[in-house]
Structure formats: structure tokens, C-alpha cells
């Protein structure tokens, strides 16, 4: 099939950037979206032009590196996939496809479609852990049975890949879904209880300091999340935050 790509090109963080149009011919429906961009880049290199820079690594939907807005949707039109798993069969011959980077104050553009998501790491530094040193003497893994439902819900929250689609999709660029997924994972496990108060206060503080917007519960984040992280996590974090504020 033949397509028209309209891609955001921006040389570096200081450049203003603009949309550039690229025609694409003979695109196979079995290609992944990134493989389609590989073909474009190969063509650009052959013509002596600079290829489009984009983040990608595992190409199997788990590392969270790939990040692009495709026709106004984070990771493109399919649900529950990252853009590396989006395939061209989701498009039709003659389509025009707009490709842009994540847009958020806290995610400045590095080049073309690549943004700086280190704010996410800094939120995790503030409390996204359980303080346990490595030793051969931690208690036996089965010494605290954990209700299967809680363990499964903690797991579901823990499957967040930290891609930033939630922030990019939110009209306020809020990071609540991302932060609440980590807070929830630990809130649901007995091991996470000891530091629960400090964790939620510190992580939320860091989130605010990084310049992410506030949450107005519109739920766009949940809809666009490639891993299906539930809005319930935000409710749980709000509860944790409220009770932590009282204890504070």
C-alpha cells in the first residue's frame, strides 16, 4: 500500500521543529510500524538525508522505550499495544499518518520523536522501592502467604512499562497513572507496608516538582495505556495519599 507520512522533525532541544511530509510506497501490511519507519530511514540514508530519530529497543512491547503519537493517539490506533507491535495492517492504502513525539512539559524533546523521560526515573528514586538490603538471610519467600487476589492485582499494577503514554495522552500531562501503578503494587503487598506513608508522600511530591499536571479523572491515560493499567490505581493512590497526609 501507499501512504503519506507527516513526521515531526526537530534537530535538537533548542530547534523549533516542524512537520515534514514523506511519501511511502509498497508498504507491506505484515510490517510493524517501526519496520515501516526503518524502510523510510534506509531510503533517507541512501539519499544522503538524516534518518528520523526515534526511541526503540526490544521491539516486543515490554521495554517501554518506543514512544510516539500516531494520528493523535499514543502508540497509534490499536489498543493494548506499544507502537513497536502496531502493524501496518491497521492502516489502509492512501492513508495519511501523522507521527509526533510525546508532548509534555516534563518530557522535553531531544531530537525528532525522542523525548527525555528521566523525570519518571526521578519519581522512582524518591520512593519506588522497598528498603531491603541484599543478603542471604532475608526470610523465606513463603513465610508470608499473600492472598492470590492481592498478589495478582499487585502484579497487574507492576506491569507498567514506564513508556509515558499516559502522560502524553492526558490533557493536563499528568503522571498519576504511572505513579499510582508503583504505589499500588507496594500498597497491595505486605512487604510494602512499612514505608507506605513516606513512599506515597515523596513520590507525589517529586511528581509535582517535575512539572506534571494534575489529574482530573478523565481516564484518557487508561484508554491509551498499552498495558491496561487500571484507573483504580489512581483511586488507591489517592486513598493512600490521604491517609498518609493525616499520619504525615
Amino acid at each position: 500500500m501507499n501512504l503519506t507520512l507527516k513526521i515531526w522533525r526537530q534537530k535538537n532541544a533548542k530547534d523549533t521543529g516542524k512537520i515534514v511530509e514523506y511519501p511511502m510506497t509498497d508498504v507491506s501490511p505484515d510490517m510493524s510500524f517501526l519496520e515501516m519507519l526503518d524502510v523510510l530511514n534506509q531510503d533517507l540514508i541512501d539519499k544522503g538525508e538524516e534518518p528520523v530519530a526515534f526511541d526503540h529497543d526490544c521491539r516486543e512491547g515490554i521495554c517501554g522505550m518506543c514512544s510516539m503519537f500516531v494520528n493523535g493517539q499514543a502508540h497509534g490506533p490499536d489498543s493494548m499495544v506499544t507502537v513497536c507491535q502496531l502493524h501496518m495492517r491497521s492502516f489502509k492504502d492512501g492513508d495519511t499518518i501523522f507521527i509526533e513525539p510525546w508532548r509534555a512539559t516534563a518530557f522535553p524533546v531531544i531530537k525528532d520523536l525522542i523525548v527525555d523521560r528521566s523525570a519518571f526515573d526521578r519519581i522512582q528514586h524518591a520512593g519506588g522501592f522497598i528498603s531491603v538490603n541484599t543478603s542471604g538471610n532475608t526470610q523465606d519467600a513463603n513465610s508470608i502467604p499473600i492472598n492470590k487476589h492481592d498478589a495478582d492485582t499487585a502484579f497487574d499494577a507492576a506491569t507498567c512499562i514506564g513508556c509515558g503514554a499516559c502522560v502524553a495522552s492526558c490533557k493536563n500531562s499528568s503522571a498519576m497513572l504511572f505513579v499510582s501503578a508503583k504505589v499500588s503494587q507496594f500498597a497491595l503487598l505486605p512487604q510494602g507496608q512499612v514505608e507506605a506513608t513516606d513512599r506515597v508522600l515523596n513520590m507525589v511530591q517529586q511528581m509535582d516538582d517535575e512539572g506534571f499536571g494534575n489529574c482530573t479523572n478523565t481516564g484518557a491515560c487508561e484508554v491509551e495505556c498499552p498495558k491496561g493499567i487500571s484507573l483504580e490505581n489512581i483511586a488507591r493512590m489517592n486513598r493512600e495519599y490521604l491517609s498518609a497526609s493525616f499520619k504525615g
Binding site: D30, E50, D121, I130
Partner: protein, 665 residues
């Protein structure tokens, strides 16, 4: 230099404990005076960085991704082995040790593997304490499953995302130390050289991938947790950025490279769909617990399936060849990976492949749906003879176990694996070979360590499923943090290492020269062009089956390709900016050297063992034929060009396990 593996004396089961008691320690006040560089933040590098920082060392960690959480350990699916014997099925440290040595086709180091088995149980305890949400049963205790090559259930898992959960555990431990300032994290940085001062590893040269700046970083010791080199094959299940560069630079600075030809070709990957393919996707081995592998018995049915006139679900049971169950009745679909991969190749080479290109076999869950469904119907008091209901109930159970894998398959192939069997084919997945290390995980360069997949020591010629996660975390959490202290005990009075020295000057100059050469080359062909060419040579001549003629050709062809690369490669843009093509070029340049050593190693190893199969050395039934005279580790010393590399042998002794013909029948 003679290889000294430094294996402690004494009975196998006491070696590690005794060693820990004998080696030197660094007191807490002195640890604050010592810097350690850790390159790579996967399970091995991440867990090592966190643990070393907890101990009090100043850690500088490096990764090329934008966050340490994205290292490719994250993509490991199936699980992690540990000799916990929670299932009471007779597991023990010795059995895990035995299975791993046997699975590795008697080409791994006994003492290292025993230590691995010994610390395996601690890993699970540690991860649970960190909040890793492993799968649990209804009683709230940890669940297990079984993997290839073993007869017990010792694999702990978190759905099909075990690697992700374990890596996020190590990442969280790192985050705690980054927050405390004990780890200085450098993301989007690539290591381009090791700096050796007075014979010791004292730092690295790294490139900031965003600004292009070349940086000097010093430390008292350097640890490489930089993974494997399977991307030499271009198409593999590795991440796009996975590379051999750090390991290869270390090799060029004096670290011996061991067993480069031992590569794991994983049997259950999604088949190649076309020329545009950039990578291959694994379907976890855990699927072989419940999926049955087959091809049609008759060529006419193969024909009909390929042209679409017959659906696989319509083919009668008696017309199917469940070839693993037929050839290996004891282990069936759960034979080790090398055996399963070769068996698939054998059927496809004989013309029984079921996709258009003839390179795919079926992995079928129909029987599992019915088996689980019947059990559910019984539990719920429903009609066990209602096939439609039973199938539906069974599909729910399978969905709970492997839902994300089924979803991934459907997204990529556009077929619903609940309705029609999956198609799979072997793909390059892991490299057992790597930098040679002694019992302390130190390379032949003093102060330079290699951990996880980057080293060679634990998996011999074939790795068993769910053992990579175990080894990465064992090295990083429980082995290196002890053994490195023995070396650093001599460094407590050294003081900070200056980056202002002739050694750093020389290393930085080298790096700059290479980059200048690449960026100003003005050739006519892209980096990917050369990478794909190399991949073709590797897959066709150094792949699942190798022979003398092919390997000799591969050596010549790779050397020619390398020469052409340096003449003709074309890299757009500049060196002082984000430039992925430039980063890729450096990696491919190293693969082009490693590839030749790989083929040379495969040529010298005149036997078949695990993932290394030589056509000339097979039993009458077509199984791998090991040869006693090759019971050694090949450790290669760099001498300028891959063809000039010098072979050193570490003889392997088996005192606690009887070396015999590996049989899974």
C-alpha cells in the same frame, strides 16, 4: 598467560562457603573510598550496582537505554529456577546443579554451577522481600512450573513477564541507591573502551549518546554486565541495541573470550514474515508445558496446508506427527532447547514445514484446553462431556497462564491462537559463550569483571530455560559483591584514580579516531546493509548445524565483508549530536570482528555439544556427539586480527557428576 580458574579446594558443597570465609574483606569505612564502574543495568549489572552501593562502594553505572529499567532482561518471559523444593517433588541443590551441567552438555565449570544452584534459593527470598509479585496459588504460597530438560517443577514466574518483574525489582533496588547518591547513573551512554593502568582495569571511555561527547570515567574496578552477542546474526530475539561492543573492547584490551561459538537457538519463536523483518519474537518455553509440537505426517497434507485448502485443525490426529513425543518419550515436548530446535530443523529440512517458506512447525494447545476444561467442569459440577463448554473453560485457564503471550502472537501474526495452532520456528536467543572469568568472576585483566550473560561460565554449551535470570541475579546479588572485595582489599590506600593520565589519553584518542573514521567515510552503503549481510553468513554457515566447509567459507566471507565495511559504510549526520547510525556502526564493526572469531571457534571445536552441532560429529540417530578430547573451555587471546587469535584451554574436570551421553529419551 596460563589460565587459572581459582577454583577453591575442598568438597563441592563446601567450596563457596569456605571461599567466602577465606577471602579478604574491605571494612565499611574503606568501602567509601572505593569506586566501581558497572556497565549495563540488566539483571546482572542492575543487581550488582545496587548491592555494591548497599555495601558502601561508590558506584558509577552506565546503560545505553534512556533508563536502567529498559535493559533486555526485561523481555525474559518464562521464569527463574530455584532449588526451593516447595513442590516436594524431590528437588535439591544437587539436582539443580546436575540438571544444569547435563543440560549444558558437560561443558560448564562444575564449581560455578554448584554455587549457582546453592544461591538460587536466596534469590527468590530476596526478590519477594523487594516486592516482586510472583505468581501464587490460592493458599497464598508461591506457584511453580516446569521447564525443558528437567523432571521437577522449580520455576518461579510472574505470568509471562518474569524478566520484567525481576528487572524492575533490581531497578527499584538501584533507585534506592541512586536516591541516596551511592549510585551515579549515566543513561544514554555507551562504553567504547576499557582503560588499563599498570595492568589493572581503572576506568572506561564512554560516549554520551545525546551530545556525542566522549567522557572519561575512572574507578578501582570495572564490571561488565553487558549481555550477549546474538545480534551478530542480525535477526534474533535480542533488543535492537544489544551489542558486543563493551565485551569486545575488553577482549581487545586483554580479556580472553571463551567459547564464542556456543549460541542458543530457541525453538519457539514467531517465524520470519518477510525481508523487512527487523527482529524476532520469542514465545516463552513455558508454553511447551501445555502446547504440543507437531507437523503433518504426510507431505500431501503439508502441501494442502500451505496452499490454504486444509486447515491444521481439520487434520486428523493419526495424520499428525508429534515428533518430539515420538523421538523423546521421556521428556516429550520438554526436551532442552538445542534438541527441540534441531528436531524442528530436521522436520522442516525434510519438507514438512507448515508456512509458506516451509520454516515453521505447529505449537498446539487444543489438548490443553480440553484437559484443563474437564478439570474445571468437574470442579464446578458442569457437564464434562460438553466439548464446547469444556474447551471454553480450558481456554480461560490457558489465558490466565499465558494470556499476554497469546495476545502478542495474535498482534504479530494476525491469527487467533485460541482457534488455530501457533506457528513457531527456532531463532537466535542467547549466547552461552562470553568473556572468560575465573571463580571470582574476574576476567584475565585484573580488576575487570564480567557477570551475567556477558561471561561464559555457567551454562556450558546449552542453557536450560529459566536459568539466565537465575545466573544474572546470582552473579549480581550474591557472588560478585563478595568476590570483588577480595581484589579491592588491596586498593584501600590507592585513593581516587585520576583520569588525567597517558592511558586515558591513549584510550580516548583511539575512540575518537574510530569515530572520525566512521563519520567521515563517505561510503555508499548503510550500516544495516552490512549487518544484514553478516547475519546471513552467520545464520547460513554458523547456525543450527555447522560443518568444516561452511565455517571456512564464513571466516573468509566475514573478513571480506569487514574490509568492505570500512571502505564503503556511510553514516549521515555528525558525531557531536544524537546519531543512531553512528552508534550502530560502531556496534556492527565489532560484530564483524567477533563473527570471524565465532566461526573460527566453531571450526576448531571438532565435536557436537549442546548448541554447537557439527554435521561431521553426530550419532547414527542424528544426536550430538561429544568428544572427550574436547572437554575444555576455549579461551581466545586477542592478537590484532580475529584470525590471529590464540587458543588457550581450560580443561574441565567432573568430579561430582558422571559424564555420560546426554539422553532425553
Amino acid at each position: 598467560m596460563a589460565l587459572d580458574s581459582k577454583i577453591p579446594q575442598g568438597p563441592l558443597a563446601d567450596k563457596w562457603t569456605k571461599h567466602k570465609n577465606d577471602i579478604n574483606l574491605v571494612n565499611p569505612a574503606n568501602k567509601r573510598l572505593i569506586d566501581i564502574i558497572v556497565v549495563g543495568t540488566g539483571l546482572a549489572g542492575g543487581s550488582a550496582a545496587a548491592t555494591l552501593a548497599e555495601l558502601g562502594y561508590n558506584v558509577k553505572a552506565f546503560c545505553f537505554q534512556d533508563s536502567p529499567r529498559r535493559a533486555h532482561s526485561i523481555a525474559a518471559q518464562g521464569g527463574i529456577n530455584a532449588a526451593k523444593n516447595y513442590q516436594g517433588d524431590g528437588d535439591s541443590t544437587y539436582r539443580l546443579f546436575y540438571d544444569t551441567v547435563k543440560g549444558g552438555d558437560y561443558r560448564s565449570r562444575e564449581s560455578n554451577v554448584y554455587r549457582l544452584a546453592e544461591v538460587s534459593a536466596n534469590i527468590i527470598d530476596q526478590c519477594v522481600a523487594q516486592g516482586v509479585p510472583f505468581a501464587r496459588d490460592y493458599g497464598g504460597l508461591l506457584d511453580n512450573r516446569s521447564f525443558g530438560g528437567v523432571l521437577v517443577s522449580r520455576t518461579f514466574y510472574a505470568k509471562g513477564q518474569t524478566g520484567q518483574q525481576l528487572l524492575l525489582g533490581a531497578y527499584s533496588a538501584m533507585n534506592r541507591q541512586i536516591g541516596r547518591g551511592k549510585i551515579k547513573m549515566h543513561t544514554r551512554h555507551e562504553m567504547l573502551d576499557v582503560v588499563i593502568v599498570d595492568g589493572k582495569a581503572r576506568g572506561i571511555i564512554a560516549r554520551n549518546l545525546v551530545t556525542g561527547e566522549i567522557e572519561r570515567h575512572s574507578a578501582h574496578a570495572v564490571v561488565l554486565g553487558t549481555g550477549g552477542y546474538g545480534n551478530a546474526f542480525y535477526l534474533s530475539t535480542y533488543a535492537m541495541g544489544s551489542n558486543v561492543t563493551a565485551a569486545w573492547k575488553a577482549h581487545k584490551r586483554g580479556a580472553y573470550f571463551a567459547n564464542p561459538c556456543y549460541t542458543q537457538i530457541h525453538p519457539t519463536c514467531i517465524p520470519v514474515s518477510g525481508d523487512h523483518q527487523s527482529k524476532l519474537t520469542l514465545m516463552s518455553e513455558s508454553l511447551r508445558n501445555d502446547g504440543r509440537i507437531w507437523v503433518p505426517k504426510h507431505l500431501k497434507d503439508v502441501e494442502a496446508i500451505r496452499n490454504g485448502s486444509l486447515k491444521p485443525t481439520e487434520l486428523a490426529e493419526e495424520d499428525r506427527d508429534y515428533y518430539l513425543e515420538r523421538r523423546y518419550p521421556a521428556f516429550g515436548n520438554l526436551v532442552p532447547r538445542d534438541v527441540a530446535s534441531r528436531a524442528a530443523k530436521e522436520r522442516c529440512d525434510a519438507g514438512y514445514g507448515v508456512n509458506k517458506t516451509g520454516e515453521a512447525v505447529y505449537l498446539d494447545f487444543a489438548a490443553a484446553f480440553m484437559r484443563y476444561g474437564k478439570e474445571q467442569a468437574h470442579v464446578k459440577g458442569l457437564d464434562e462431556n460438553d466439548d464446547t463448554l469444556v474447551r471454553k473453560l480450558g481456554q480461560e485457564i490457558v489465558k490466565n497462564k499465558y494470556g499476554n503471550l497469546f495476545q502478542m502472537y495474535e498482534k504479530i501474526v494476525d491469527q487467533n491462537p485460541y482457534e488455530t495452532p501457533m506457528m513457531i520456528y527456532p531463532a537466535v536467543h542467547y549466547t552461552m559463550g562470553g568473556i572468560w572469568v575465573d571463580y571470582n568472576l574476574m576476567t584475565t585483566v585484573p580488576g575487570l569483571y564480567a557477570i551475567g550473560e556477558a561471561n561464559f561460565s555457567d551454562h556450558g554449551a546449552n542453557r536450560l530455560g529459566a536459568s539466565a535470570l537465575m545466573q544474572g541475579l546470582a552473579d549480581g546479588y550474591f557472588v560478585l559483591p563478595y568476590t570483588i572485595g577480595d581484589y579491592l582489599a588491596d586498593d584501600i590506600r590507592t585513593g581516587p584514580i585520576s583520569t588525567d593520565s597517558k592511558e586515558f589519553d591513549e584510550a580516548e584518542k583511539n575512540v575518537n579516531e574510530t569515530i572520525d573514521k566512521l563519520i567521515n567515510n563517505n561510503g555508499s552503503k548503510s550500516v544495516d546493509h552490512f549487518h544484514k549481510q553478516l547475519g546471513k553468513i552467520m545464520w547460513n554457515k554458523c547456525g543450527m548445524a555447522r560443518n568444516e566447509k561452511d565455517l571456512k567459507e564464513a571466516i573468509t566471507e566475514i573478513a571480506e565483508l569487514r574490509e568492505e565495511f570500512w571502505k564503503e559504510v556511510k553514516i549521515p549526520g555528525n558525531a557531536d549530536e544524537y546519531n543512531e547510525e553512528l552508534a550502530k556502526a560502531g556496534r556492527v564493526a565489532d560484530f564483524l570482528e567477533l563473527g570471524e572469531l565465532f566461526a573460527k571457534d566453531a571450526l576448531v571445536r571438532e565435536e557436537s555439544a549442546g548448541g554447537h552441532f557439527r554435521d561431521e560429529y553426530q550419532t547414527p540417530e542424528g544426536e550430538a556427539m561429544r568428544r572427550k578430547e574436547f572437554q575444555f573451555v576455549s579461551a581466545w587471546e586477542f592478537k590484532g586480527e580475529p584470525k590471529d587469535a590464540v587458543l588457550h584451554k581450560e580443561e574441565l574436570e567432573y568430579e561430582n557428576i558422571k559424564v555420560k551421553e546426554r539422553s532425553y529419551k
